[in-house]
Homo-oligomer: 284 residues x 4
């Protein structure tokens, strides 16, 4: 049995849902999940559908061709179709903070994440031993002002050689270049340690402390050209009080960052995120 996940968006028109469900029925698929959303302001239709196919002759490639010809053209759809047969490949970019790394690798090791991690890249050696313990190849690619371009070239070679599907910046602490962003659009997930759009940029916990907020947060988002302004995937918050010093905010924030980043990784991996207009539609 093969499971196919279809993500569609297009201008809203009558009969899209009936047309798609008919198409699936004709192909002898059984729909096990359907959800849709319409952005009324923009008049855009979004749909996510999972279907199971049991007959022998089914192939994802033939299905895609047929879908393209029969439906996509007619409705002017932008679409993606994923087969359950292939696990997505995630590259981890890290630096010196270990909490998100431990958290993701712990989940990975327990089988909680439906993905593969071909390698970890870091600009520092501090966390190499953790990668070693989890038996994941670790590439040390230092980044300085002068070597930034060459470093990125090495990164790109690794990403391409391993057919990486998406990148997770687990507190990587480096600005990603336009070039890399363009090659992985809506495929680079960052965790920012504030409740965006509050406290963009460096040292958000310090800013939160100074402003005297009563709630702090963390935000996972896709990386775009503008710093910390990409489509938000998930956010988490926790209460703080005047009694918390900056280091307390940082410690409490670590727990938020871990969970909010792991949620984003799971949503992305399970094909539950669609991006439109610098926002996300997150299917359940």
């Amino acid at each position: 049995m093969q499971k196919i996940t279809i993500l569609i968006h297009c201008k809203d028109k009558p009969n899209i849902i009936a047309s798609v469900t008919n198409f699936i029925a004709e192909k002898q698929g059984n729909i096990v999940y359907i959800d849709q959303h319409v952005d009324r302001e923009q008049n855009i239709f979004f749909m996510r559908l999972e279907s199971e196919f049991i007959h022998d002759s089914f192939t994802a490639d033939a299905f895609k061709d047929s879908f393209r010809n029969a439906l996509a053209a007619k409705f002017g759809m932008k679409w993606r179709i994923y087969s359950s047969a292939r696990k997505p490949k995630m590259a981890l970019f890290i630096s010196k903070y270990d909490h998100c790394l431990y958290d993701l690798l712990g989940r990975y090791n327990s089988g909680e994440l439906n993905l593969e991690i071909p390698f970890i890249i870091s600009n520092h050696l501090d966390l190499k031993s953790i990668a070693d313990n989890f038996k994941i190849p670790f590439y040390h690619i230092p980044v300085t002002k002068d070597t930034k371009e060459a470093a990125e070239q090495k990164q790109l070679e690794l990403l391409e050689a391993h057919k990486i599907d998406f990148i997770v910046l687990a507190r990587y602490m480096q600005i990603i270049s336009s070039n890399l962003i363009a090659k992985y659009p809506n495929k680079i997930i960052n965790i920012h340690h504030s409740f965006l759009p509050a406290f963009v940029g460096a040292k958000p916990y310090h800013s939160a402390f100074k402003r005297g907020v009563k709630i702090i947060g963390a935000t996972s988002h896709y990386v775009t050209e503008e710093l910390d302004a990409g489509p938000i995937i998930d956010q988490g918050v926790t209460r703080v009080t005047h009694s918390h010093a900056i280091e307390d905010l940082i410690a409490k924030g670590r727990d938020l960052e871990k969970i909010v980043l792991a949620n984003a990784v799971k949503l992305h991996t399970n094909r539950k995120v669609m991006v439109y207009n610098n926002k996300t539609v997150i299917f359940s």
Copy 2:
């Protein structure tokens, strides 16, 4: 234009979604919302669908007949179809606590609730002036051990005379009889002041205080024969500490009760709740 909301559940089988969406397309309806759920344990399929019909000849009754014949029989569906043309009618049962009453009437007055409140029933006169201020008919029906049956008879007469669709117990504090429950199955909403199933029965804040919990809650649910054991519609929680006395828990709980009850009223009114196996499916 008329909007129709359809709620369906039946044994899960292939092609239900395609069949229903086709049916709507044939009737020239435009689907504006579809969501579904499958309980894999029980193999039950649930669906909620909203469709707009613009042609002149459309009538809800004819649609229902057609749906019954064309689809419901074939798939063995249990189904309900609601037209947007009719607002549900809610009876409010209250006693001496005013916080849920103020909250619901405030929302009602502001147009937040898509329903009508033909009357309020109370076993005490304490809150009559509030009903008067909001210009809602108030019936004082005292309940004692001896008059319980006669009181309920009066309640039933009012409910039937006003064609009431559902009842909300806004801290009514009286046990509802089997007879009334049977007449309004999954149509009587109660607010219980604990995080069910913890602290069933009387004085849950006292029990929560004694147990030393760090979080208290409130639960809205449909009333069934077994006390506080009906299908849960919504729950809310808030943190407490050792420094909160019982009266503090009660005060904090009031805010939970108001919101959790109002949520349940809105979900029920918007036909977003399906009940099955003493649980609810809550569509978004």
Copy 3:
């Protein structure tokens, strides 16, 4: 019996706590609450203390004199002492939104708020009937560009005539003048319908919708010269999804606003808030 609440802040030095507790003991007071906080960055000490006095000869004024001479001078304290004998007086400023008004008046009527509301001021007549229902004097003071100064003069006269202690802007929607702010420093509480410092200014729910945040919030704060930048008293948040339109955010936000504003009113009324460096210390 009289209860005295003392709020102190001063440069942190050794022996402040012992000196103050000794002073209370000498006056035959029994301390029923003590809490303190030290801002290590600024080296500022904060303390809140409640003490009960049962002997006949106790008077708050004599106590204040004695405290001033014996302690305040020595440690360079800024301090406030409140007697339980006097309830604070709150003026409500409203406009056209009724949800915070209903909420506060409902709480007030139920005895949940330990304060008096001598009057309500509004620049519109829309909500007059609510004030009437709750039997609270309502003053209609329209504000236009031309009448702004005269309107404020009328407001000030009312505030002074009624010996108002603090002002609550329950979605008043007008900018408060520097003059009024200066007369009621850290005594004007506003509710802003966003998670500050995100979405300062007008139409924050529209901005939140546009940014695609997954959590929205509300913030109660003291009004200062800079718009929406005053010391934060309380914040609340709730989850939203892509499926929520702007009007859904507004509706969900109303529930946040009510609770976050009511919390601020209770904290202020119970003398649990100290302001320092544009931040608050909130005692439990």
Copy 4:
């Protein structure tokens, strides 16, 4: 400099706070933290105080003697005094679930936890490699019905040999004997995967699924004779919907368990927990 933390509880009487703060002042200590709580129902006074001592002659033992003679006897105090000079020693009991283990060891390695972990005990070998990676001695002590007593004897020997201060059951899944509980009263921390007192005992996520709750939780508590009924230290909750299968509840629950257990470990380690009447006072 040495920091002393004092925890006191006794019958509430006037002048306790003044007496204790005076005592500290006489010993030339500087109070850097004071908080208190009175259980009005039981008339019990609780206090937590931190004081810094800088003079050379200070010793914790002499201080304790002096405190016992000067204050404890007079007020009938139960008290504990801890010096910052000694880190508490924690034994980890685990079984087959790795999420709490990874989480605690990740925090430990990062320096977030102010404690030592002399060893890990498990009744299974599954997680030995994790202990090895973190270079913590791992003792495999299998437990069967027949070997339970002998196994516990081995556990006790290890606990005593290493002068263990408290035990953490990180999803250990075995009932702790009365004997062990008696030797470590309020010193064995368990994580239960439900919002206690709901769903006591085995398979709470299955029970939560069956009941159809809309919020699930986790509870850290001290182990007492009665199963899952000991004093609650911390609780956490998260929302679930009908769309979550049991395995989803389990996965979401893991994140709660990690954080709620880590919070309990930190509160216990920082001497912020007092136990009374099967409840906890948790100082900030």
